[in-house]
């Protein structure tokens, strides 16, 4: 298997994962489950950004991954605090 085919397979798997996570995001069944789904969605974004860096040969996508990781952490903690203090579904 050639390296380019490996990277393409990785991107296909990541796309399938995003669809799986969206299933959980829609089905819930409650806010805590959706926060978990959102957290995983942004970690998948980090993975997709690093795969994009390799496929395109442009290292600037790693900056995207870094910023996405930062925002993912802050938003997950903020959402979790909101849920903990009784926020609406």
């Amino acid at each position: 298997m050639s390296p380019a085919a490996l990277a393409a397979a990785a991107l296909a798997l990541l796309g399938a994962s995003v669809l799986l996570v969206l299933v959980r995001l829609v089905r819930g069944p409650d806010l805590a489950n959706r926060v978990v789904a959102l957290d995983l969605l942004s970690i998948l974004g980090v993975g997709i950004a690093s795969a994009a860096a390799v496929v395109s040969g442009d290292a600037v996508y790693l900056d995207v991954a870094l910023i996405l990781a930062l925002i993912a952490f802050v938003s997950t903690v903020a959402f979790a605090r909101y849920a903990e203090q009784g926020g609406d579904e």
Partner: protein
């Protein structure tokens, strides 16, 4: 692109897919959180390692290491915050759960879910 970089990328994608499958298949919010925080963080780190190998320059590798370190520091904190919020909101435990040590010890737990 070297074969090693492609293989690391694919392995990372497999782990992230396992995390996503766990998120869909596991029975309650706590087990789902466990799948997403551990498997997906490892997967993202492997993908970043693959990118570092692919570019092979110190600048890119340094950035990848910083992101991996940041993920390893924040994933447990985020998972803890979610688990705590879920428990306090009385997100139901799986019926096969065998231990709930906080069952009568968490005054912050909401009475009505």
């Amino acid at each position: 692109m070297s074969l090693l970089a492609g293989a690391l990328l694919l392995l990372g994608a497999v782990f992230m897919t396992l995390g996503a499958a766990g998120l869909v298949r596991l029975p309650d919010v706590y087990t789902r959180m466990s799948a997403s925080s551990k498997a997906a963080t490892l997967g993202a780190s492997l993908a970043l390692l693959g990118a570092a190998v692919h570019f092979g320059s110190a600048a890119v590798a340094g950035r990848a290491v910083v992101i991996v370190a940041f993920l390893f520091l924040t994933a447990p904190v985020a998972a803890h915050a979610i688990g705590r919020a879920g428990y306090r909101r009385k997100s139901p435990l799986w019926r096969g759960t065998i231990a709930d040590e906080l069952a009568d010890a968490d005054p912050g737990r909401k009475e009505s879910a």
